[in-house]
């Protein structure tokens, strides 16, 4: 196993957040960076809701017509539909219309600058079961009026894919972190990969520093953190965020301010952490039943850990 002293890292902006790649062999950093950047370019071109040249844009504006898509887009949509199925519809990719009506209709950095009142109330999710994905062609048909938003799972999928590609190309251990969605692959450092688990109230906007509430080590799989405080904005005096309750179309009201989950993949961790925000107190038993190690933080700072997540 490589020593922690030989690690190298690079961070750069991507997907409206940041991307970090850590490799256990400094000589592999340049290649790792290039592979990660290529993966992010590909996932952005496929799944961006804001780019008129993206596949998602074409699908969302096809007015119910069948649209041929790339294998990457088909995979991203399949993962999103799996997420809905695994969570009984709590993590629903058809919440795009709600996000648009809530003002999240452009890149987040631009969207949060608009603070005027909402023109129309949000609407419930269009229904993920109505989306038709033909994986054999592949092609997609979305009923008129439904807008897909793959942001919840596409970023995690990119972390999974990039980590696997980097490990395959370099033969070295790697950690990919996309805005808090983490995936590791290959041989970890001696003591594992050190990951800080941050509560967003600790974020110092003046210095852009994050003080992690806890530092853990992971050796395999993925880790993701979800929070209603992350992508939050204000319209007409109302505080809004990006985790949508599909049944109402409004941002979810949760007893948790932050949920971090470890899973076999980053996609799995992301799905579980997002669903946990939506499920509130029920999330404790649900995560424990799935044996997914998790750390849940209430708004008053009380921490609950389940399924072997270390206390602290």
């Amino acid at each position: 196993m490589p020593s922690t002293t030989t690690m190298a890292a690079r961070t750069f902006p991507a997907l409206g957040t940041f991307a970090t790649v850590l490799v256990a062999e400094p000589g592999a950093l340049a290649l790792a960076h290039d592979l990660l950047a290529a993966e992010l370019d590909a996932i952005d071109l496929a799944c961006s809701r804001f780019r008129p040249d993206s596949e998602l844009w074409r699908v969302n504006h096809a007015r119910g017509q069948r649209v041929p898509v790339s294998p990457l887009f088909a995979q991203a949509l399949a993962v999103a539909l799996d997420a809905a199925e695994l969570t009984d519809g709590d993590v629903d990719p058809t919440c795009g219309q709600s996000l648009v009506r809530l003002g999240y209709d452009r890149d987040f950095a631009q969207a949060r600058r608009h603070t005027g009142p909402l023109r129309r109330p949000p609407m419930p999710a269009g229904g993920w079961r109505r989306v038709r994905l033909d994986p054999s062609q592949p092609a997609v048909r979305v009923p008129p009026g439904i807008l897909l938003d793959l942001g919840a799972t596409a970023k995690a999928l990119a972390a999974d894919r990039a980590a696997a590609a980097i490990e395959a190309a370099t033969g070295r251990g790697v950690l990919v972190n996309l805005g808090g969605d983490i995936r590791v692959a290959g041989d970890p450092p001696d003591d594992g990969w050190r990951v800080g688990i941050a509560d967003d109230v600790d974020f110092d906007a003046s210095t852009a520093r994050i003080e992690p509430g806890q530092v853990v080590t992971i050796h395999d799989g993925g880790l993701a953190t979800s929070s209603p405080l992350g992508r939050a904005w204000r319209r007409g005096g109302t505080d809004l965020h990006h985790i949508i309750d599909p049944s109402t179309g409004w941002p979810a009201t949760s007893c948790w301010r932050t949920v971090s989950v470890a899973a076999a993949s980053c996609v799995g961790a992301n799905i579980a952490s997002t669903a946990a925000i939506l499920r509130g107190e029920r999330a404790i038993g649900w995560l424990d039943g799935l044996r997914l190690p998790a750390r849940l933080v209430r708004h008053d700072g009380t921490v609950v850990v389940v399924a072997g997540w270390p206390a602290g």
Binding site: T4, T17, G179, R194, H219, T225, L292
Partner: protein, 156 residues
């Protein structure tokens, strides 16, 4: 003594007509039986064909799953039909248990063909092989700055 009742067949030419009627009825029943059998086969085929298609997709998805899911044998939680269940059940075969060469070749060919035709559908809620552990003390040696899982920078 009562007269014997008269039967049409006993009249001249009636036997031939009766035989033709019996042959006609027999032909009609044979046609009915054939139709019922055809409908039965069609129904059976319609029910069986989709199941075979789904099984093929699931196998392909499982074969293309890159990270081993490390799912415990008695994973609790919601039973998930279709894609995820197939992935969970097939992962140990694809990743952990080495197959004999003769058996492995067709499987590899099948997975390559399916992978080209269908993208992976492998989202599962499987736990990691090892749970996160407390970070070791860093008092004796400098430790690298940890990367952070948070949504503060606009992430998930």
């Amino acid at each position: 003594m009562r007269d014997r009742p008269e039967f049409p067949e006993e009249q001249p030419g009636a036997a031939r007509a009766a035989g033709l009627r019996r042959l006609s009825r027999l032909t009609w029943r044979a046609a009915q039986l054939s139709a019922v059998t055809a409908v039965g086969f069609a129904t059976l085929f319609a029910r069986t064909a989709p199941a075979q298609t789904v099984a093929g997709d699931s196998t392909a998805a499982a074969a293309k799953t890159s990270p081993p899911a490390a799912t415990p044998p008695s994973s609790p939680g919601k039973a998930h039909p279709g894609r995820a269940r197939a992935t969970v059940s097939a992962s140990p075969q694809a990743t952990a248990r080495p197959a004999p060469q003769a058996a492995a070749q067709p499987t590899a060919k099948a997975s390559q063909t399916a992978a080209a035709a269908a993208p992976s559908k492998s989202a599962t809620l499987a736990p990691p092989s090892t749970a996160p552990a407390p970070a070791p003390s860093t008092s004796s040696a400098p430790a690298p700055t940890p990367t952070v899982s948070s949504t503060s920078h606009g992430g998930g």
